[in-house]
């Protein structure tokens, strides 16, 4: 199995706990013989790097700066994520099984790659805008929420870490029950649960 992970934070760039989580996820997947590519942002350290843990990481940076807000920044950075993912896709002769996109930042790239190259994606949710912005209804917040909605409607599966988040998604986005998979990172069987969710996607008919 070959998986590309999109995340806006990955060590050494750490802004919250997502960086640690994705790092652990990628390392565990490698141990399970998954060919893992991480596409992530870094301000200065860019390009390809494969560490001792076997994770192949591509770090991308802004082609446009300055930016006026987080949206214009992320939405132009998405083209770089697409470029790198397409480069991987052509390098491995189209054999990319899945993209795992963490939070909203690279949802547009995942959606385009799905439409263009028929690579399905799962949407892993760490946090959502209604929580981060205290239900703010500013245009900026609602725009970010619309990116989250786009990800949820286009994803093959949605992965969350707790029953609570599942209920929150249903409450804020009307996400249907059978789209959401709960895999707790604290569980013994965590990585097997992730793999099972990935495989479930692979066995399902393409949407």
């Amino acid at each position: 199995m070959r998986v590309i992970i999109f995340t806006w934070e990955f060590p050494p760039r750490i802004t919250g706990q997502l960086a640690y989580y994705v790092n652990r996820l990628a390392a565990e997947l490698v141990k399970k013989n998954v060919d893992v590519y991480v596409v992530t942002y870094n301000d200065s350290w860019i390009g390809f790097h494969q560490g001792a843990d076997g994770i192949k990481a591509y770090r991308i940076s802004d082609k446009v700066r300055p930016h006026i807000n987080v949206l214009t920044w992320m939405l132009s950075l998405n083209q770089e994520a697409e470029r790198v993912a397409a480069d991987i896709y052509y390098l491995v002769k189209h054999e990319v099984d899945l993209i795992d996109v963490h939070d909203w930042h690279f949802v547009p790239a995942a959606v385009t790659l799905k439409r263009a190259l028929k690579i399905p994606f799962v949407f892993s949710i760490d946090s959502i805008e209604p929580h981060r912005s205290q239900n703010s209804d500013t245009p900026l917040s609602s725009s970010i929420r619309s990116m989250e909605s786009l990800g949820m409607s286009e994803a093959a599966r949605i992965l969350v870490k707790s029953e609570w988040m599942k209920q929150e998604l249903k409450r804020h986005y009307n996400t249907s029950d059978n789209m959401i998979e709960i895999v707790s990172p604290d569980a013994e069987s965590w990585i097997d649960g992730i793999l099972a969710a990935y495989r479930k996607r692979l066995e399902a008919p393409a949407n």
Partner: protein
């Protein structure tokens, strides 16, 4: 068959057609009629029609518009209108980024439906940069871009982070593009300077004008009554009422012109300077000599060009100067600033009268010269018409655009960056 192998194309379709039979282009633009905000809509409308006539399969992906069909064929070109993101967004540039998410998604599905077999992605201005650059890489299709105007010119410099961001987006798009089209030598020079591009990356293909649109029959005397008294000459200005269009200098030239000719000034268009211009004419006690029409319907505007005695384009900044071309097509004598793209369209004392930009005395001189010398006016307007017909013909422009595509495909075919 490789899609860049042009020799194989005619073979694949039985050898009956020329190699370009299968050229397939996807254009990205934030406007296409009926959605018309700036000049790109009309540009694409005309260009796509003529490209289709040359056998280029043309697709246009653009923003939706109330009442316009989501998908239709316009003069042979396939138009796909995408959800332009109508939820509130913080500002115009952020809206544009969000619109690009939808545009890229739909264009990806479109190109995907042809299994990626699209020859060229053609972007128009920075407003579609995100979608264009992403699609280029995902499908590995060469990207061509027309830069119609540049932020650094529109704003006369870069003053805020907002403007710098747009400038850098243009820069990014320019550098991601295989080749660039500019409409004048002036714009080509500005683009090469602003983005540090070598000369051979930029090809100059002018804008065009549809001469036949100005050949309709109508009751001129009756139509004229709506704008001026029979004994008044009509001095026409068409453009947004903003600083860089220089309309304030035409208004300043009014007393000097009126001291020698009985004339009515008709200003078509709207903008932030309207109120101050109105105050200016009121203070000069010349309000009865001017008419602010606001925006006009295309058909009325075309007639107005035809009955005007002189058309003045007093711009300070002008990447191209489409209004000058419209006047030339309508056989209206032209007085234009010697600036930007205008100075390339108009040849002094041959296809128009050139005046110094920002100089009311010079404008007055040019206008009175045309109005007081019918022989001269006739000479420049007929030369101008010939020039509009000969140089700025959309069929010719489409042919050059097709050659531009073929040049890119030839280079692309010889390279190694391709889908594998």
């Amino acid at each position: 068959m490789d899609r860049w192998d042009l020799s194989g194309v005619s073979e694949a379709i039985g050898g009956t057609c020329q190699l370009n039979r299968h050229l397939r282009v996807v254009m990205l633009s934030w406007e296409f009629p009926p959605r018309t905000v700036g000049g790109i809509a009309a540009h694409l409308f005309n260009l796509s029609r003529e490209l289709v006539k040359l056998g280029v399969e043309t697709h246009i992906v653009t923003c939706d518009f109330p009442g316009a069909s989501e998908s239709e064929v316009v003069n042979g070109a396939h138009v796909l209108r995408v959800d332009s993101y109508k939820t509130p967004s913080p500002d115009f540039a952020t809206w544009d980024s969000l619109m690009n998410v939808n545009m890229q998604k739909e264009a990806a599905a479109l190109i995907g439906s042809y299994s990626g077999k699209v020859d060229i992605i053609h972007a128009h201005d920075w407003l579609v940069a995100n979608a264009a650059v992403g699609l280029k890489h995902v499908f590995r299709i060469p990207l061509a871009t027309t830069i119609h105007s540049a932020e650094i010119g529109r704003r006369n410099g870069l003053h805020t982070d907002y403007e710098r961001m747009i400038h850098q987006t243009e820069n990014w798009l320019a550098h991601e593009s295989w080749r660039i089209v500019c409409c004048s030598q002036y714009m080509s020079a500005q683009v090469r300077w602003a983005f540090g591009l070598p000369e051979d990356r930029v090809r100059i293909i002018p804008n065009g004008v549809d001469v036949s649109a100005y050949e309709n029959e109508f009751d001129r005397a009756e139509f004229r009554k709506r704008f001026a008294l029979p004994e008044e000459k009509i001095v026409l200005f068409v453009g947004r009422l903003v600083y860089e269009k220089g309309v304030q200098f035409l208004v300043s030239a009014m007393p000097k012109i009126l001291s020698r000719v009985n004339a009515k000034f008709v200003l078509v268009g709207d903008g932030g300077m309207r109120d101050s211009l109105m105050r200016q004419v009121a203070n000069m006690r010349l309000a009865h000599r001017i008419m602010f029409t606001g925006f006009l319907d295309e058909n009325i505007l075309r007639k107005l060009y035809q009955i005007a005695d002189v058309c003045v384009v007093p711009s300070l900044y002008e990447p191209f100067g489409i209004t000058a071309l419209e006047a030339m097509a309508a056989k209206t004598p032209l007085v234009a600033s010697n600036t930007g793209g205008l100075s390339e369209i108009v040849e002094h004392d041959f296809s128009g009268t050139k005046v110094f930009p920002g100089n009311p005395d010079s404008i007055a001189w040019g206008v009175t010269r045309v109005l007081l010398d019918p022989g001269y006016a006739n000479w420049i307007k007929l030369n101008a018409y010939q020039r509009a017909f000969r140089v700025y013909d959309w069929a010719k422009i489409a042919k050059e655009t097709k050659e531009f595509y073929e040049q890119i495909l030839k280079e692309y075919g010889g390279g190694s960056w391709k889908p594998t």
